[in-house]
Subunit: 411 residues, 2 copies
Amino acid sequence: MALIVQKYGGTSVGDLDRIRNVASKAVAEHKAGNQVVVVVSAMSGETNRLVALVDGLSRFPNLREYDTVVSAGEQISIGLVSIAVENMGIKCRSYLGWQVKFITDSTFSKARIREVEGFRIRRDLDEGCIVVVAGFQGIDDMGNITTLGRGGSDTSAVALAAALKADRCDIYTDVDGVYTTDPRIEPRATKLERISYDEMLEMASMGAKVLQIRSVEMAKKYRVPLRVLSSLEEGTGTLLTEDSEMERVVVSAITSDQNEAKLTIKGVPDRPGIAAAIFGSLAEANVNVDMIIQNVSENGETDVSFTVSKREYQLAMNVLDEQVKKIGARSLGGNPNISKVSVVGVGMRSHSGVAQRMFSCLARENINLQMISTSEIKISVVIDEKYTELAVRTLHEEFELEKSLADRISA
Amino acid sequence: MALIVQKYGGTSVGDLDRIRNVASKAVAEHKAGNQVVVVVSAMSGETNRLVALVDGLSRFPNLREYDTVVSAGEQISIGLVSIAVENMGIKCRSYLGWQVKFITDSTFSKARIREVEGFRIRRDLDEGCIVVVAGFQGIDDMGNITTLGRGGSDTSAVALAAALKADRCDIYTDVDGVYTTDPRIEPRATKLERISYDEMLEMASMGAKVLQIRSVEMAKKYRVPLRVLSSLEEGTGTLLTEDSEMERVVVSAITSDQNEAKLTIKGVPDRPGIAAAIFGSLAEANVNVDMIIQNVSENGETDVSFTVSKREYQLAMNVLDEQVKKIGARSLGGNPNISKVSVVGVGMRSHSGVAQRMFSCLARENINLQMISTSEIKISVVIDEKYTELAVRTLHEEFELEKSLADRISA
């Protein structure tokens, strides 16, 4: 008998038919002899509706009250799923974040989970119940309601799976797994059977958007086997584990992100404190910086390039316009029409030549590289936005990702 | 400095403009130097929407889960009211039933309040906050969410006022007070400045529909001064207290109820256990019985008449059809086209002749009395439904209710 945590997002509980579908999936797992805990989000659209109500009253609401309002949606969906399960003849109990105690810090609207008290759930499971738990929300030491930030239900599910020492955490979503690249760009993209936490982390941060990145970090930390699969189609999805089965495969996936813009400060005096001055001013303005590149200096000067989200591009330009004069840099330039294309794979750790192969492949298509950044398992390049699809398809073919895993390993 | 509990129903928080209106009323009371606790219902339509979702899944839902779903609405409205208050520059904190602890029994969907823990609210009030509390809901000893039944927010407000020893509990609603009779029937109906708990209890049970009857019972028990007033218009409303200022006035109000139907069982054998057999079978079928009249028996037989709600009339007829044969009664008859008209007033206790005056007045209009029932402060008659308006207007004039209180006392 295994203990399975299932997590369903807003789309999967979007109406009564889908709620019945969720219930029948949970009941099927229960009838297969397993203990089942279901974590659900609010019905799709509900949380947006609640956020809009708050926005209609205040641009800067008290965040304690904001959390109280926006966490009301899960209360509805857990009760409805529970009623649907009982209709199928299985005992079921639902719990809110404060009831089974997802204890968090008091950072309203983006609280971090400190501890999950699972004993009430264990008792119910031992009594043969299916248990339904509200995602996205918790309670702080003072008894206030907190929320974990958008997409927080994934993190709730993984945290609960870790606390209950679950055998697996199944994240049901509207895609049937993790792909070698975006199928809308490269129709020959194939679904990955397995992927490592690290690969997924590199992909998630680049817009793969399948899982909240915090949930993957937590799954990695507590070694929770995490499966991503579709709530609407049958299939085994993609399993995230410590080590990829594809370790012998160099590249697992290609990702692209067109939501970034590039800024370059030229002629930056190369002395201590300058980087802090630049990025400190951006941090104060709440601009998130992604890639940062600084070349070695020449003649006591250097150039600094970095990317921010397109949405914050103009704000970043305004903030730096002043800062550039203050630090005595020569000029500020920017380009919002870029995209970031990355090659991801744990295999890179032990294989040389991946970067060179990637660069040659893009050069053959006359795609100029504006920035390059690498990690142990990822190489990202910034290119002109209009070449995004071409770059993704070319790289997908170069690394033979359309072939099955078996074919690639034997090749 | 007084402590005022204000309660607003769903219509009063039905949209963001109305929520701002509620906030400004609370802030005005606060700025007048008083401590203010606001109890709110869900936004109008919200609880109905939630009930409909549950109905879509199950005709007989697990009531624990039902309560979890239908209590989600107040969570939204308390947060929104709190944000609107803070927008006006006053610190505000909202609490759900489980947070300030409305401890109830475990009768899901119609729980009774056992105790209200007010210390968190007191602390916030002492810090200069306005406090907003969710009506309608509580928590049982096991930490389950419970609800108090429809209209339960009135009861929440009064229970909280009692626990906090509030100086007054103001129930804001969509009418501006309690009237001498229904103004839609008698345009000369006048608003009562004061009324006793007992008079209000007699009126509420007869369809005055201004306050949930449980809340009046509780206000009477804990001697909470209760005021009914409009959330949309200015005015002082009607104050409910232990003793009516109108004690010297015989009749305070005329009420009518057209939602009842009459049943009569003729030739009932007059022996012990018969009444239990009749009303037991109705109770089993969940039929609520209102007035019951049984005349003295003749020849070992008696007639029993009683009223039920029109909605349950056919069910009651079906249930009794069988029962009448079983107990050996002669016949069962019924009439759904009746109405109940009542004269209410604490003054009756010490004044004779009110009943006679009522009956003569109706007789002058040729209105036949089908049933008569009296309590210490109320006389009700059942008449043909079509005479309802005529009866109300005639009685209103007979007891001079269109005159001001001062005029009536001096008269």
